[in-house]
Symmetry: D2
Subunit: 258 residues, 4 copies
């Protein structure tokens, strides 16, 4: 039974004057921040703000790369050549490393965004392309991958540090992939329901799909979201629920990963 | 009298299928490549190609950051906040560092592009913003600055390694700034004329403005261009002319800079 | 003494999932909507929403073109060739006309955005470039121009329908241009103060600069903003204040313009 | 047996300083130009140039809309909501109409670009979304659709003017769709081979797939390309071959369409 887990959130998903999310509030709740790198969202000023703030809060930072699709917010599947994809990921990691220099910190994990995350979870070639970028730029970067997915397989194959991820506020399909946002109810909003699911996910090492199928999954890191009004409340509930159940919430850099 | 000088060119100024320049041909002529970083031009696949090729050729690499203005190719002056500018430069350096990992090389210089170069040459605050980005991300990166400009002053003030740059195929105003491309004749095309100007520039440590004014300038690095049909011929002429005059052409990393 | 005036607001300044402003609330207050056209902000789905909604509310619609600078939200001055500018404006007008077809309505005015508005207010060439685009695409489109500016001069020179604009929540310099947003206090937030200024502006046909200078200005259209929390309250206050003072608020298309 | 046909080419696929294709040369060969509208490529200055030049040459003009994917040049399939797609097409048509005002001409056809064309050829919903945009903005615009595709079905269902298109330099799959560019040999380069295929396609009303399957297809419009060095030669060959076989090449606006 797990007595520690990581809590991560996607952050910095802004662009110039366009703001999304409650990053500053979430930084008090999570232990690791996945920072958008300027493709699906994000810009250098926001990245600067977040690496500095994360340092102050003891929150570890990671790259949150996405498709070069600002209008679609990286949520549209794009049929992309895996070579181009690999280099695009390396670029985004490097860009965040450049910004991390402002806080004297390192980029210690990577988690793909949106449709890229979904595609890499299903398609080993996508998962490997992302993994090769990590391996080239900094092989100590932890690959945060949907538990049980092809991304997990890619991380293992490339012998990269791996954190298996679970999602607090998303339904799962029977195959362990996230239910598409296009399906009504795919995103959960009720803070109590979210908390209960998460505590069970961590303690029982089990995920229940939307059809009731029970999937064995060891979770190293839990993803909370911050882009909806109720999200910060739900994230706070998750953290409190975990701690009440005796689970410590720690940065990815302190997790004992296998 | 100088017996060695660097020859640099701007490179990788492509975007997806949109190609510009004769990068592969220029890599046989120059000693240092300034690589576009994805803002005024450039993309990760092109950057990957160039860092790999430059490594093979013994050409040192640098960042060539520009305004976030792909349509204007970074040639339009943009009235930008210097904080945002600084972080935008740090981002671009980091991105190229990420790609340089593919060749196992380092980013060893930085040269601003187009209108950003012009503005930083005239405005100390712009020059300092760029310099602070260099200093934060990697203080060993050589700041390539128009000889005699505010950028040079910024590099000196921040105690950064400095290479004073001269332009092979551009006219100069009396104040030592480049004549605007909007002025007819501002860009030279005649290979013989270009060669003669450059050899004199290096040997005599003197630049002659378009009005005939003589400006004392010690030049560490000469910029050649590759984006016009005649450019590669002119660049080859410059190198041959320099070597015929007994001047060695070496990477910025081997220059003795003050 | 004016007994009718137009109230306009900039709208649709969104991009994909990135939302700004309170457009639906403002549509109940204003009489004419200036809709972002996809360059500094805006996208076709948002434009579709607004042309449809404006039709329902009896609000006339206009183009709100800006620089191609999404990151800077069109608020950064860009040194742009006036030919390119002209065509860029024509493109944006056409794009909105395409969307207006969904509501069976016409684009009946144009008002430039942000830095483009500021530059055109000061520089006749910019003002004329915008005017030529209007004249070519549809010479019945009303040119909404800062009262007393070079844009006004351009509209008169090109013999275009002209609406002289005043700003409800912005300070003015002594020359009648808007005080830069970089100056503290340039944007007013107090609803009562805004209302009083506006009523005076309309009734007395006079604007008071931030230094107290009194400028004669006949105002046909007043601009309110919607992108700050207090903005809708202020806009409602302006409308109520005008109506209480016996001034009718009507669409630009119903104004008697000179 | 057909004694007349249209010849069209995609044009204006530039972006700022980034140039592609031999538009001016092709304008002497083709009878209808499909002009990029600023999403996968294209910009207002290029559009202005082309509408003006096409008018001089008696070439009819159409919109050539694509995905909002400049980096991928609209060749990457993007999983896009059909409502957003529809409005995005309407926007692009409108933008070109705005530019066409400079030549006093009308946009008389529409042909989707790249991956959007491929997806609409296979997916009726995509084909209908494009068709609804046409119908809303100007129901007289001719929908240029791959012969035998779902786009053709969409045009028929919406009762839009329809031109069935054949491709001069592309292989076909057995189902009548274009062979993917990812397949070696999918794009033909030999001018003689291209000419012979095309003449047969028009005279016999038959296309032969890459596996030798014969497909009955009545072709109203033939697409030639201009973005490769050999393309203009091939296009000239096609026109000469058709005329030698007694087939007149005419604008889409003069074709008798069913």
């Amino acid at each position: 039974m797990a007595n520690q887990v990581n809590l991560n959130a996607d952050m910095g998903e802004c662009f110039g004057v366009f703001k999304i999310g409650n990053d500053d509030a979430l930084l008090d709740i999570i232990a690791s921040a996945s920072i958008a790198c300027g493709f699906h969202a994000g810009d250098s000023s926001t990245m600067h703000h977040l690496v500095t703030r994360a340092k102050e809060k003891g929150v570890s930072i990671g790259a949150h790369p996405g498709f070069n699709d600002l209008w679609g917010f990286g949520r549209r599947r794009i049929d992309m050549n895996t070579r181009d994809l690999e280099y695009m990921i390396a670029y985004q990691i490097g860009a965040l490393q450049g910004m991390a220099a402002y806080a004297g910190t390192k980029v210690t994990h990577l988690k793909p965004h949106g449709a890229l995350n979904n595609m890499a979870a299903e398609d080993l070639e996508f998962g490997l392309a992302i993994g090769r970028a990590i391996k080239t730029v900094d092989r100590n970067i932890i690959y945060v991958a949907l538990a049980g997915s092809q991304m997990e397989a890619a991380a293992l194959k490339l012998e990269l540090p791996l954190a298996r991820e679970g999602f607090c506020d998303r339904l799962y399909d029977d195959d362990g992939n996230l239910t598409s946002r296009k399906i009504p109810g795919a995103v959960l909003h009720d803070a109590e329901e979210i908390k209960n699911r998460v505590v069970r996910m961590v303690l029982d090492e089990e995920i229940v799909s939307r059809n009731g199928k029970r999937l064995r999954r060891k979770i190293d890191s839990l993803c909370v979201h911050g882009d909806e009004p109720t999200a910060v409340v739900a994230a706070r509930g998750v953290r409190n629920g975990l701690e009440a159940a005796g689970v410590r919430v720690i940065p990815l850099t302190e997790m004992k990963l296998t």
